[in-house]
Symmetry: C2
Subunit: 322 residues, 2 copies
DNA sequence: GGTTGACCTGCAATCGATGTCATAAATTAT
DNA sequence: ATAATTTATGACATCGATTGCAGGTCAACC
């Protein structure tokens, strides 16, 4: 439509002068500046960002790669986008559905300069496949990992899980069942350590209940209740990997007429939206702020400054299920 | 990095030939084609999308404008992004926080050719402010509205609400309380009509219970329960604007020791994730598919074809609260 | 043998901005 | 009065691709 040449013509100056007038850089006489600005106003000029991106080699656009938009991912996304917009960046979404080839597409988008940087929320690909792409722009991960070129903004869940265990102990529960998430995640390892330390501290037998791994969905929680009803004495309390599993346990228990926390207690993790509706005791996970930190790291790398990260802490939200 | 000129040089041809070889358009001898492809492979060539966008004036990037990233918005977003990626488009997110100036930024992004089109999920701005921007690219709305240049993919909630009312009637509830959403929304009007028709059909007195408007949050639901406990005989059933309100009512009732549906029934709307956890009877709203339709409309306009839209229907999901 | 048309290739323009450079006028310093 | 500096401006190259056009070869056809 109306480009800068057109504006220059209308104002009776060269494109260079028009550019200077509009950007405010370099020398321009007051008079011509006025004319250019007037022409820009009149003919509704807006710079073409693609031209700028080509020229500068940068887009002020970041890519966010996530498998889907469930609860905590959308929290993270919201926090990330807000932080980015605040600083004048824009965010492009890549949804992978746990498909590695889709993850590759996001990496290619970085290579083709469609985005300046990438944040991986959760991913499937092997690290050695992702790593070479850092030469095209910063890559940050939410998922916990160890790599010298790809920082991750994870929080070690040892502390958070210990919070849950201590709370259950304080409430008088002794036979505690661990409901862990994916066994491959480093956080599961942290939680296992936390439990071991917890048992040592209070002289409890770590083997009093079996632990469970790879639990993640509401359905897992529902099944778990049934498993226990059919296989021996139900534990005093469950410390779970996330609120979804916890919610599944709580709602299934209610359906079966069991009372919570009298028949058994449940502590969730994450403090998602619906935890409040279910009156679920849980550990609050500051996903929002963490997303802000992810952005800060990216921005630090892009702008070669050193932005401070917000220190984050888990905290207990006590409700009615413990 | 490595651009097409570099590849051309390495392959011993001109950039034009290299371009033709890479794109497969126009005549290129087999031999040179091989050489170009080999060079591209060897030197890890990837086209700069910004250059392409500048040249073609199109980005294959769409903007999605939403106030925040809560439940149903993220469902819509997920559906939209999946549909877009399927067709080779990418989606950039604009989160407004109900701030009109942020909505304007999204519109400006369209004008500056950062995106080819926009979809507004929910917005605050007046239509006459948005409308002029359609000359820069298609704009579609999820929020229901009437405008000849801005199509909206709303579903008239008359049918869905009637489904809820009929269900409550069939279950034997007669004193039904309407819990409506924002009074400014056209959908609220549709629901009021549905209720009027419903009462006429069954010879019920529409004024048997007061109706409520501008309910939207969990907290509204919680307050509503208290209001009724303090102000007269509680209705047999509540037909609500969305699951959040319904969830607030259900969870507050449980907290207060009331039994559902014996003391009162509640029917939600949307069938969000957590409805299952709360065993909430609700009306399923096919947000996913609707987002797909929103994309189809945009694509039709961009590519000047005429893609079919998927016909959508509400349906009842009966659970334990009615 | 000359015309036609398919095939192949590279030059140069283009998309819309920025920025370097040369040139020149106006101003200040010496 | 002259040198040095600041101010002002436009021509032109550049970012990285695509594409119209002109010029060329070569086989086929009449």
């Amino acid at each position: 439509m109306t480009n800068i040449k057109e504006i220059a013509r209308r104002a009776g100056v060269s494109p260079s002068t028009a550019s200077r007038a509009l950007s405010g850089k370099g020398y321009v006489s007051e008079e011509k500046k006025r004319k250019v600005l007037a022409a820009a106003e009149e003919f509704d000029y807006a710079p073409n960002l693609n031209a700028l991106s080509l020229k500068t080699g940068t887009t002020r656009r970041l890519g966010l790669v996530a498998p889907e938009f469930a609860e905590s991912v959308s929290l993270f996304t919201g926090g990330f986008v807000r932080a980015a917009e605040e600083a004048g960046y824009t965010v492009t979404l890549f949804i992978t559905g746990y498909d590695k080839s889709k993850e590759l597409e996001a990496l290619e988008a970085l290579r083709r300069k469609q985005v300046d940087a990438l944040v991986f929320v959760l991913f499937q690909s092997e690290l050695p496949l992702i790593a070479p792409y850092v030469k095209y722009g910063p890559i940050v991960s939410w998922q916990r990992l160890v790599h010298e070129r790809i920082p991750s903004v994870f929080m070690d869940q040892y502390d958070g899980y210990m919070l849950a265990l201590e709370h259950l102990y304080a409430k008088g529960y002794r036979r505690i069942c661990n409901v862990y998430g994916a066994s491959t995640r480093l956080n599961t390892q942290s939680r296992i350590e936390a439990f071991a330390d917890f048992c040592r501290k209070y002289g409890l037998d770590p083997g009093v209940c079996p632990s469970f791994q790879n639990m993640g969905d509401t359905e897992d929680g529902e099944r778990l209740v049934h498993w226990w009803l059919e296989n021996g004495r139900i534990p005093d309390a469950f410390a779970t990997t996330n609120d979804r599993v916890a919610a599944g346990m709580v709602s299934e228990a209610r359906r079966l007429g069991l009372r919570i926390p009298e028949d058994f207690a449940v502590c969730g993790f994450d403090n998602l939206d619906f935890a409040h509706m279910l009156d679920l005791t849980t550990i609050h996970y500051p996903v929002d702020e963490q997303a802000g930190n992810a952005f800060a790291i990216i921005r630090s790398q892009i702008e070669e400054t050193d932005l401070p990260l917000k220190p984050l802490k888990f905290h207990l939200v006590e409700r009615a299920t413990t």
